[in-house]
Subunit: 215 residues, 2 copies
DNA sequence: GTTTGTTGTGAATTAAACTTCACAGGTTGA
DNA sequence: TCAACCTGTGAAGTTTAATTCACAACAAAC
Protein backbone atom coordinates (compact mmCIF):
# COMPACT_ATOMS: atom_id res chain seq x y z
CA UNK A 1 0.00 0.00 0.00
CA UNK A 2 1.51 3.28 -1.18
CA UNK A 3 0.20 6.49 0.35
CA UNK A 4 0.98 10.05 -0.74
CA UNK A 5 0.59 12.84 1.85
CA UNK A 6 -0.04 16.31 0.43
CA UNK A 7 0.10 19.27 2.83
CA UNK A 8 1.84 22.64 2.84
CA UNK A 9 2.29 22.41 6.60
CA UNK A 10 5.66 20.65 6.90
CA UNK A 11 5.19 19.73 10.53
CA UNK A 12 1.82 18.00 10.16
CA UNK A 13 3.03 16.36 6.96
CA UNK A 14 6.05 14.72 8.52
CA UNK A 15 3.97 13.74 11.52
CA UNK A 16 1.50 11.88 9.33
CA UNK A 17 4.32 10.29 7.36
CA UNK A 18 5.82 8.98 10.62
CA UNK A 19 2.53 7.54 11.81
CA UNK A 20 1.84 5.80 8.53
CA UNK A 21 5.38 4.45 8.25
CA UNK A 22 5.07 3.01 11.74
CA UNK A 23 1.91 1.21 10.60
CA UNK A 24 3.90 -0.36 7.79
CA UNK A 25 2.60 1.68 4.87
CA UNK A 26 4.89 2.85 2.12
CA UNK A 27 4.75 6.66 1.99
CA UNK A 28 5.81 9.67 0.00
CA UNK A 29 4.90 13.33 0.41
CA UNK A 30 4.32 16.53 -1.53
CA UNK A 31 3.99 20.12 -0.34
CA UNK A 32 1.62 21.37 -3.05
CA UNK A 33 -1.13 20.19 -5.33
CA UNK A 34 1.13 20.62 -8.33
CA UNK A 35 3.89 18.51 -6.80
CA UNK A 36 1.33 15.86 -5.87
CA UNK A 37 0.09 15.60 -9.45
CA UNK A 38 3.65 15.27 -10.70
CA UNK A 39 4.41 12.47 -8.24
CA UNK A 40 1.22 10.67 -9.22
CA UNK A 41 2.27 10.93 -12.83
CA UNK A 42 5.60 9.29 -12.09
CA UNK A 43 4.34 6.49 -9.83
CA UNK A 44 1.09 4.88 -8.79
CA UNK A 45 -0.36 5.50 -5.32
CA UNK A 46 -3.17 3.56 -3.76
CA UNK A 47 -4.25 6.45 -1.56
CA UNK A 48 -3.62 10.20 -1.62
CA UNK A 49 -4.16 12.13 1.60
CA UNK A 50 -4.69 15.78 0.74
CA UNK A 51 -5.22 18.99 2.70
CA UNK A 52 -8.20 20.96 1.48
CA UNK A 53 -6.67 24.36 2.17
CA UNK A 54 -3.41 24.91 0.35
CA UNK A 55 -1.92 28.02 -1.33
CA UNK A 56 -1.97 28.26 -5.14
CA UNK A 57 -3.74 25.16 -6.38
CA UNK A 58 -6.39 24.30 -3.81
CA UNK A 59 -6.86 20.75 -2.57
CA UNK A 60 -10.19 20.64 -4.37
CA UNK A 61 -8.65 21.50 -7.71
CA UNK A 62 -5.90 18.94 -7.24
CA UNK A 63 -8.58 16.42 -6.28
CA UNK A 64 -10.48 16.99 -9.52
CA UNK A 65 -7.34 16.61 -11.61
CA UNK A 66 -6.36 13.46 -9.77
CA UNK A 67 -9.73 11.81 -10.22
CA UNK A 68 -9.67 12.69 -13.90
CA UNK A 69 -6.26 11.24 -14.69
CA UNK A 70 -5.96 8.50 -12.04
CA UNK A 71 -9.46 7.24 -11.35
CA UNK A 72 -8.14 4.20 -9.51
CA UNK A 73 -6.28 6.03 -6.73
CA UNK A 74 -8.45 6.93 -3.73
CA UNK A 75 -8.30 10.41 -2.25
CA UNK A 76 -8.93 11.30 1.39
CA UNK A 77 -9.31 15.02 2.07
CA UNK A 78 -8.25 16.77 5.26
CA UNK A 79 -10.67 19.62 6.05
CA UNK A 80 -10.99 22.24 8.77
CA UNK A 81 -13.34 21.10 11.50
CA UNK A 82 -15.88 23.86 10.96
CA UNK A 83 -16.35 23.58 7.20
CA UNK A 84 -18.89 20.85 6.59
CA UNK A 85 -19.65 22.21 3.14
CA UNK A 86 -16.02 21.78 2.12
CA UNK A 87 -16.22 18.14 3.11
CA UNK A 88 -19.40 17.67 1.13
CA UNK A 89 -17.75 19.42 -1.80
CA UNK A 90 -14.81 17.05 -1.62
CA UNK A 91 -17.07 13.99 -1.66
CA UNK A 92 -18.94 15.40 -4.65
CA UNK A 93 -15.66 15.77 -6.49
CA UNK A 94 -14.82 12.13 -5.98
CA UNK A 95 -13.02 11.96 -2.63
CA UNK A 96 -13.44 8.61 -0.92
CA UNK A 97 -13.67 10.16 2.57
CA UNK A 98 -12.56 13.17 4.61
CA UNK A 99 -10.91 13.79 7.95
CA UNK A 100 -11.67 16.93 10.01
CA UNK A 101 -8.78 18.77 11.63
CA UNK A 102 -7.88 18.40 14.45
CA UNK A 103 -8.19 14.64 14.65
CA UNK A 104 -7.08 11.83 16.90
CA UNK A 105 -4.50 9.43 15.53
CA UNK A 106 -6.83 6.49 16.08
CA UNK A 107 -9.66 8.07 14.10
CA UNK A 108 -7.20 8.99 11.39
CA UNK A 109 -5.93 5.42 11.14
CA UNK A 110 -9.45 4.00 11.20
CA UNK A 111 -10.36 6.13 8.21
CA UNK A 112 -7.25 5.08 6.34
CA UNK A 113 -7.95 1.42 7.06
CA UNK A 114 -11.56 1.66 5.95
CA UNK A 115 -10.61 3.21 2.63
CA UNK A 116 -7.96 0.53 2.14
CA UNK A 117 -10.55 -2.16 2.75
CA UNK A 118 -12.88 -0.54 0.23
CA UNK A 119 -10.08 -0.43 -2.31
CA UNK A 120 -9.27 -4.08 -1.78
CA UNK A 121 -12.90 -5.05 -2.14
CA UNK A 122 -13.28 -3.07 -5.37
CA UNK A 123 -10.15 -4.66 -6.76
CA UNK A 124 -11.46 -8.12 -5.97
CA UNK A 125 -14.72 -7.38 -7.77
CA UNK A 126 -12.86 -6.00 -10.77
CA UNK A 127 -10.63 -9.07 -10.86
CA UNK A 128 -13.72 -11.27 -10.96
CA UNK A 129 -15.20 -9.23 -13.81
CA UNK A 130 -11.94 -9.54 -15.65
CA UNK A 131 -11.87 -13.30 -15.18
CA UNK A 132 -15.37 -13.53 -16.60
CA UNK A 133 -14.42 -11.44 -19.61
CA UNK A 134 -11.31 -13.52 -20.36
CA UNK A 135 -13.31 -16.71 -19.98
CA UNK A 136 -16.03 -15.38 -22.22
CA UNK A 137 -13.67 -14.76 -25.12
CA UNK A 138 -11.77 -18.02 -24.63
CA UNK A 139 -14.34 -19.96 -26.65
CA UNK A 140 -14.22 -19.79 -30.46
CA UNK A 141 -18.02 -20.00 -30.62
CA UNK A 142 -18.42 -17.00 -28.38
CA UNK A 143 -15.80 -15.06 -30.31
CA UNK A 144 -17.77 -15.81 -33.47
CA UNK A 145 -20.94 -14.53 -31.88
CA UNK A 146 -19.20 -11.33 -30.85
CA UNK A 147 -17.72 -10.63 -34.27
CA UNK A 148 -21.11 -11.37 -35.83
CA UNK A 149 -22.85 -8.91 -33.54
CA UNK A 150 -20.13 -6.39 -34.27
CA UNK A 151 -20.35 -6.80 -38.04
CA UNK A 152 -24.10 -7.19 -38.50
CA UNK A 153 -25.48 -5.30 -35.51
CA UNK A 154 -28.06 -6.67 -33.05
CA UNK A 155 -29.53 -10.09 -33.86
CA UNK A 156 -32.18 -12.51 -32.63
CA UNK A 157 -31.46 -15.93 -31.19
CA UNK A 158 -32.43 -17.95 -34.27
CA UNK A 159 -30.58 -15.62 -36.61
CA UNK A 160 -27.40 -16.19 -34.63
CA UNK A 161 -28.03 -19.92 -34.44
CA UNK A 162 -28.51 -20.30 -38.19
CA UNK A 163 -25.62 -18.02 -39.06
CA UNK A 164 -23.35 -20.19 -36.92
CA UNK A 165 -24.67 -23.35 -38.60
CA UNK A 166 -25.67 -24.91 -35.30
CA UNK A 167 -28.71 -27.20 -35.18
CA UNK A 168 -29.49 -27.08 -31.47
CA UNK A 169 -30.48 -23.58 -30.42
CA UNK A 170 -30.13 -24.36 -26.70
CA UNK A 171 -26.40 -24.65 -27.27
CA UNK A 172 -26.36 -21.06 -28.47
CA UNK A 173 -28.52 -20.01 -25.53
CA UNK A 174 -25.86 -21.44 -23.24
CA UNK A 175 -23.11 -19.34 -24.79
CA UNK A 176 -25.24 -16.22 -24.97
CA UNK A 177 -25.94 -16.60 -21.27
CA UNK A 178 -22.23 -16.61 -20.50
CA UNK A 179 -21.66 -13.52 -22.62
CA UNK A 180 -24.59 -11.83 -20.91
CA UNK A 181 -23.28 -12.65 -17.43
CA UNK A 182 -19.95 -11.16 -18.40
CA UNK A 183 -21.94 -8.04 -19.43
CA UNK A 184 -20.38 -8.22 -22.87
CA UNK A 185 -23.75 -8.47 -24.60
CA UNK A 186 -27.22 -7.43 -23.52
CA UNK A 187 -30.80 -8.04 -24.55
CA UNK A 188 -33.39 -5.36 -25.27
CA UNK A 189 -37.04 -5.72 -24.32
CA UNK A 190 -37.75 -7.46 -27.64
CA UNK A 191 -35.14 -10.12 -26.83
CA UNK A 192 -32.69 -8.98 -29.47
CA UNK A 193 -29.06 -9.53 -28.54
CA UNK A 194 -26.57 -6.71 -28.99
CA UNK A 195 -23.15 -5.63 -27.80
CA UNK A 196 -23.04 -3.70 -24.54
CA UNK A 197 -20.68 -0.81 -23.88
CA UNK A 198 -18.17 -3.23 -22.42
CA UNK A 199 -18.83 -5.41 -25.46
CA UNK A 200 -17.55 -2.79 -27.86
CA UNK A 201 -14.40 -2.48 -25.79
CA UNK A 202 -14.02 -6.24 -25.80
CA UNK A 203 -14.41 -6.37 -29.59
CA UNK A 204 -11.73 -3.72 -29.85
CA UNK A 205 -9.43 -5.90 -27.77
CA UNK A 206 -10.30 -8.98 -29.81
CA UNK A 207 -9.49 -7.25 -33.07
CA UNK A 208 -6.15 -6.07 -31.70
CA UNK A 209 -5.28 -9.52 -30.42
CA UNK A 210 -6.24 -11.23 -33.67
CA UNK A 211 -4.17 -8.77 -35.64
CA UNK A 212 -1.17 -9.16 -33.37
CA UNK A 213 -1.43 -12.94 -33.21
CA UNK A 214 -1.94 -13.48 -36.95
CA UNK A 215 1.26 -11.85 -38.19
CA UNK B 1 -12.55 -15.78 -52.54
CA UNK B 2 -11.68 -12.39 -53.96
CA UNK B 3 -9.10 -12.23 -56.75
CA UNK B 4 -7.50 -9.11 -58.22
CA UNK B 5 -6.12 -9.32 -61.78
CA UNK B 6 -3.37 -6.84 -62.62
CA UNK B 7 -2.26 -6.53 -66.25
CA UNK B 8 -1.72 -3.67 -68.68
CA UNK B 9 -2.97 -5.86 -71.56
CA UNK B 10 -6.72 -5.18 -71.51
CA UNK B 11 -7.57 -8.19 -73.65
CA UNK B 12 -5.77 -10.79 -71.53
CA UNK B 13 -7.05 -9.09 -68.39
CA UNK B 14 -10.72 -9.33 -69.30
CA UNK B 15 -10.17 -12.86 -70.56
CA UNK B 16 -8.82 -13.94 -67.17
CA UNK B 17 -11.59 -12.09 -65.38
CA UNK B 18 -14.17 -13.99 -67.45
CA UNK B 19 -12.58 -17.35 -66.72
CA UNK B 20 -12.41 -16.71 -62.98
CA UNK B 21 -15.95 -15.36 -62.80
CA UNK B 22 -17.19 -18.47 -64.56
CA UNK B 23 -15.47 -20.53 -61.88
CA UNK B 24 -17.41 -18.64 -59.24
CA UNK B 25 -14.64 -16.40 -57.91
CA UNK B 26 -15.27 -12.78 -57.04
CA UNK B 27 -12.96 -10.63 -59.19
CA UNK B 28 -11.71 -7.13 -59.70
CA UNK B 29 -8.98 -5.80 -61.99
CA UNK B 30 -6.34 -3.11 -62.28
CA UNK B 31 -4.27 -1.97 -65.26
CA UNK B 32 -1.16 -0.93 -63.37
CA UNK B 33 0.83 -1.71 -60.25
CA UNK B 34 -0.16 1.62 -58.75
CA UNK B 35 -3.86 1.01 -59.31
CA UNK B 36 -3.48 -2.48 -57.84
CA UNK B 37 -1.95 -1.11 -54.65
CA UNK B 38 -4.75 1.42 -54.34
CA UNK B 39 -7.40 -1.24 -54.73
CA UNK B 40 -5.68 -3.43 -52.15
CA UNK B 41 -5.68 -0.49 -49.80
CA UNK B 42 -9.44 -0.04 -50.18
CA UNK B 43 -10.43 -3.71 -49.94
CA UNK B 44 -8.93 -7.05 -48.99
CA UNK B 45 -8.13 -9.62 -51.67
CA UNK B 46 -7.27 -13.24 -51.04
CA UNK B 47 -5.20 -13.52 -54.20
CA UNK B 48 -3.56 -11.01 -56.54
CA UNK B 49 -2.66 -12.18 -60.03
CA UNK B 50 0.00 -9.86 -61.44
CA UNK B 51 1.85 -9.54 -64.73
CA UNK B 52 5.61 -9.32 -64.25
CA UNK B 53 6.18 -6.96 -67.18
CA UNK B 54 4.24 -3.74 -66.87
CA UNK B 55 5.13 -0.14 -67.82
CA UNK B 56 6.03 2.31 -65.04
CA UNK B 57 5.93 0.33 -61.78
CA UNK B 58 7.09 -3.20 -62.63
CA UNK B 59 5.20 -6.21 -61.33
CA UNK B 60 8.15 -7.01 -59.11
CA UNK B 61 8.06 -3.62 -57.41
CA UNK B 62 4.31 -3.86 -56.91
CA UNK B 63 4.85 -7.35 -55.50
CA UNK B 64 7.32 -6.07 -52.91
CA UNK B 65 4.99 -3.29 -51.82
CA UNK B 66 2.05 -5.65 -51.61
CA UNK B 67 3.92 -8.17 -49.45
CA UNK B 68 5.08 -5.39 -47.18
CA UNK B 69 1.67 -3.86 -46.51
CA UNK B 70 -0.63 -6.86 -46.99
CA UNK B 71 1.33 -9.95 -45.92
CA UNK B 72 -1.82 -12.06 -45.84
CA UNK B 73 -2.81 -11.71 -49.51
CA UNK B 74 -1.14 -14.23 -51.81
CA UNK B 75 0.42 -13.08 -55.06
CA UNK B 76 0.73 -15.15 -58.25
CA UNK B 77 3.01 -13.66 -60.91
CA UNK B 78 2.54 -14.04 -64.65
CA UNK B 79 5.95 -14.22 -66.39
CA UNK B 80 7.14 -14.58 -69.96
CA UNK B 81 7.88 -18.19 -70.84
CA UNK B 82 11.59 -17.67 -71.45
CA UNK B 83 12.51 -15.78 -68.27
CA UNK B 84 13.12 -18.36 -65.56
CA UNK B 85 15.18 -15.88 -63.55
CA UNK B 86 12.21 -13.51 -63.37
CA UNK B 87 10.10 -16.30 -61.91
CA UNK B 88 12.80 -17.10 -59.35
CA UNK B 89 13.01 -13.41 -58.53
CA UNK B 90 9.29 -13.25 -57.94
CA UNK B 91 9.36 -16.22 -55.57
CA UNK B 92 12.24 -14.60 -53.67
CA UNK B 93 10.17 -11.47 -53.26
CA UNK B 94 7.34 -13.38 -51.70
CA UNK B 95 5.17 -14.57 -54.59
CA UNK B 96 3.27 -17.75 -53.81
CA UNK B 97 3.65 -19.11 -57.33
CA UNK B 98 4.08 -18.06 -60.96
CA UNK B 99 2.47 -18.84 -64.32
CA UNK B 100 4.45 -18.73 -67.58
CA UNK B 101 2.89 -17.08 -70.61
CA UNK B 102 1.41 -18.53 -72.76
CA UNK B 103 -0.52 -20.97 -70.59
CA UNK B 104 -3.46 -23.35 -70.92
CA UNK B 105 -6.59 -22.44 -69.02
CA UNK B 106 -6.52 -25.73 -67.14
CA UNK B 107 -2.97 -25.17 -65.90
CA UNK B 108 -3.90 -21.64 -64.93
CA UNK B 109 -6.91 -22.80 -62.91
CA UNK B 110 -4.91 -25.59 -61.29
CA UNK B 111 -2.38 -23.05 -60.03
CA UNK B 112 -5.12 -20.78 -58.71
CA UNK B 113 -6.78 -23.68 -56.92
CA UNK B 114 -3.52 -24.86 -55.37
CA UNK B 115 -2.77 -21.41 -53.96
CA UNK B 116 -6.31 -21.18 -52.62
CA UNK B 117 -5.90 -24.52 -50.86
CA UNK B 118 -2.61 -23.33 -49.36
CA UNK B 119 -4.31 -20.17 -48.12
CA UNK B 120 -7.13 -22.12 -46.54
CA UNK B 121 -4.68 -24.44 -44.83
CA UNK B 122 -2.64 -21.56 -43.46
CA UNK B 123 -5.77 -19.87 -42.16
CA UNK B 124 -6.84 -23.06 -40.40
CA UNK B 125 -3.44 -23.33 -38.72
CA UNK B 126 -3.56 -19.70 -37.67
CA UNK B 127 -7.04 -20.16 -36.25
CA UNK B 128 -5.77 -23.06 -34.16
CA UNK B 129 -2.85 -20.99 -32.89
CA UNK B 130 -5.26 -18.23 -32.00
CA UNK B 131 -7.51 -20.62 -30.11
CA UNK B 132 -4.52 -21.84 -28.13
CA UNK B 133 -3.46 -18.31 -27.29
CA UNK B 134 -6.95 -17.29 -26.11
CA UNK B 135 -7.21 -20.44 -24.05
CA UNK B 136 -3.80 -19.84 -22.56
CA UNK B 137 -4.70 -16.41 -21.23
CA UNK B 138 -8.14 -17.49 -20.01
CA UNK B 139 -6.67 -18.80 -16.74
CA UNK B 140 -5.81 -16.32 -13.96
CA UNK B 141 -2.86 -18.48 -12.92
CA UNK B 142 -1.37 -18.36 -16.38
CA UNK B 143 -1.97 -14.62 -16.64
CA UNK B 144 -0.10 -14.24 -13.35
CA UNK B 145 2.80 -16.27 -14.69
CA UNK B 146 2.94 -14.10 -17.79
CA UNK B 147 2.92 -10.81 -15.91
CA UNK B 148 5.59 -12.19 -13.56
CA UNK B 149 7.83 -13.17 -16.47
CA UNK B 150 7.19 -9.79 -18.02
CA UNK B 151 8.02 -7.86 -14.84
CA UNK B 152 10.91 -9.92 -13.49
CA UNK B 153 12.38 -11.43 -16.64
CA UNK B 154 13.14 -15.16 -17.15
CA UNK B 155 12.60 -17.41 -14.11
CA UNK B 156 13.09 -21.03 -13.05
CA UNK B 157 10.27 -23.41 -12.21
CA UNK B 158 10.62 -23.23 -8.43
CA UNK B 159 10.99 -19.45 -8.44
CA UNK B 160 7.68 -19.19 -10.26
CA UNK B 161 6.07 -21.78 -7.99
CA UNK B 162 7.08 -20.01 -4.79
CA UNK B 163 6.24 -16.56 -6.11
CA UNK B 164 2.74 -17.81 -6.89
CA UNK B 165 2.42 -19.31 -3.41
CA UNK B 166 1.61 -22.75 -4.78
CA UNK B 167 2.74 -25.83 -2.86
CA UNK B 168 2.60 -28.43 -5.60
CA UNK B 169 5.11 -27.63 -8.32
CA UNK B 170 3.54 -30.12 -10.77
CA UNK B 171 0.53 -27.87 -10.93
CA UNK B 172 2.75 -25.09 -12.19
CA UNK B 173 4.38 -27.48 -14.65
CA UNK B 174 0.93 -28.16 -16.07
CA UNK B 175 0.25 -24.49 -16.73
CA UNK B 176 3.73 -23.81 -18.06
CA UNK B 177 3.24 -26.64 -20.53
CA UNK B 178 0.07 -25.03 -21.86
CA UNK B 179 1.81 -21.68 -22.25
CA UNK B 180 4.71 -23.42 -23.99
CA UNK B 181 2.42 -25.23 -26.41
CA UNK B 182 0.79 -21.93 -27.25
CA UNK B 183 4.36 -20.68 -27.96
CA UNK B 184 3.78 -17.83 -25.55
CA UNK B 185 6.73 -18.81 -23.39
CA UNK B 186 9.85 -20.82 -24.14
CA UNK B 187 12.61 -22.60 -22.24
CA UNK B 188 16.32 -22.10 -22.82
CA UNK B 189 18.82 -24.94 -22.56
CA UNK B 190 19.20 -24.32 -18.83
CA UNK B 191 15.43 -24.84 -18.36
CA UNK B 192 14.74 -21.22 -17.53
CA UNK B 193 11.31 -20.03 -18.63
CA UNK B 194 10.99 -16.76 -20.52
CA UNK B 195 8.58 -14.95 -22.80
CA UNK B 196 8.81 -15.75 -26.49
CA UNK B 197 8.39 -13.18 -29.23
CA UNK B 198 4.69 -14.02 -29.40
CA UNK B 199 4.70 -13.80 -25.61
CA UNK B 200 5.67 -10.15 -25.62
CA UNK B 201 2.86 -9.46 -28.06
CA UNK B 202 0.47 -11.36 -25.83
CA UNK B 203 1.54 -9.36 -22.78
CA UNK B 204 0.94 -6.21 -24.74
CA UNK B 205 -2.58 -7.42 -25.50
CA UNK B 206 -3.16 -8.41 -21.88
CA UNK B 207 -2.13 -5.00 -20.61
CA UNK B 208 -4.46 -3.34 -23.08
CA UNK B 209 -7.35 -5.60 -22.17
CA UNK B 210 -6.84 -5.11 -18.45
CA UNK B 211 -6.73 -1.37 -18.87
CA UNK B 212 -9.84 -1.32 -21.04
CA UNK B 213 -11.76 -3.71 -18.81
CA UNK B 214 -10.85 -2.02 -15.54
CA UNK B 215 -12.23 1.41 -16.29
C1' DG C 1 -58.12 -23.29 -32.70
C1' DT C 2 -54.60 -25.89 -34.33
C1' DT C 3 -50.12 -25.75 -36.29
C1' DT C 4 -45.57 -23.77 -36.70
C1' DG C 5 -41.77 -21.17 -35.12
C1' DT C 6 -39.30 -18.66 -31.41
C1' DT C 7 -37.20 -18.41 -26.97
C1' DG C 8 -36.22 -20.28 -23.34
C1' DT C 9 -35.46 -23.70 -18.57
C1' DG C 10 -33.68 -27.60 -15.99
C1' DA C 11 -31.84 -32.15 -15.71
C1' DA C 12 -28.75 -35.60 -17.55
C1' DT C 13 -24.80 -36.72 -19.99
C1' DT C 14 -20.30 -36.11 -22.05
C1' DA C 15 -16.07 -33.85 -22.63
C1' DA C 16 -12.40 -30.92 -21.17
C1' DA C 17 -9.70 -28.62 -17.84
C1' DC C 18 -7.45 -28.74 -13.72
C1' DT C 19 -5.49 -30.88 -9.54
C1' DT C 20 -3.31 -34.34 -6.83
C1' DC C 21 -0.38 -38.11 -6.08
C1' DA C 22 3.33 -41.50 -6.63
C1' DC C 23 7.53 -41.76 -8.46
C1' DA C 24 12.16 -40.89 -10.83
C1' DG C 25 16.28 -38.97 -13.09
C1' DG C 26 19.62 -35.32 -12.53
C1' DT C 27 22.30 -31.86 -9.96
C1' DT C 28 24.48 -29.75 -5.95
C1' DG C 29 26.82 -29.59 -1.71
C1' DA C 30 28.25 -31.74 2.60
C1' DT D 1 28.41 -41.40 -1.21
C1' DC D 2 24.36 -39.67 0.71
C1' DA D 3 20.91 -36.21 1.50
C1' DA D 4 18.40 -32.46 -0.31
C1' DC D 5 16.59 -30.11 -3.99
C1' DC D 6 15.09 -29.23 -8.76
C1' DT D 7 12.57 -30.69 -12.75
C1' DG D 8 9.64 -33.43 -14.74
C1' DT D 9 6.17 -37.61 -16.30
C1' DG D 10 2.01 -40.26 -16.25
C1' DA D 11 -2.03 -41.96 -14.11
C1' DA D 12 -6.03 -41.21 -11.23
C1' DG D 13 -9.26 -38.27 -9.43
C1' DT D 14 -11.91 -33.98 -9.17
C1' DT D 15 -14.07 -30.08 -10.82
C1' DT D 16 -15.85 -27.20 -14.27
C1' DA D 17 -17.48 -26.40 -19.00
C1' DA D 18 -20.11 -27.78 -22.78
C1' DT D 19 -23.54 -30.49 -25.07
C1' DT D 20 -27.78 -32.91 -25.56
C1' DC D 21 -32.47 -33.95 -24.49
C1' DA D 22 -37.27 -33.43 -22.87
C1' DC D 23 -40.41 -30.16 -22.28
C1' DA D 24 -43.10 -25.58 -22.09
C1' DA D 25 -44.74 -20.83 -22.57
C1' DC D 26 -45.87 -17.64 -26.01
C1' DA D 27 -46.69 -15.47 -30.65
C1' DA D 28 -48.01 -15.50 -35.50
C1' DA D 29 -50.03 -17.71 -39.32
C1' DC D 30 -53.37 -20.53 -41.47
Amino acid sequence: MKILIVDDDAELRSHLVDILNEEGYETDFASSGKEALEKCQAQTFDIVLMDFMMPKMSGNEALKELRKHHPRTKVIMITAFASVENAVDAIKNGASDYISKPFKIDDFLTTIRRVIEETKFENRVKKLDQDKAFNAIASPIRRNILTMLSDSGPMRLMEITRELGIEDHTKVVFHLKILKEATIIEQDNERVYGLSEAGYKTIECLKKMEQILLD
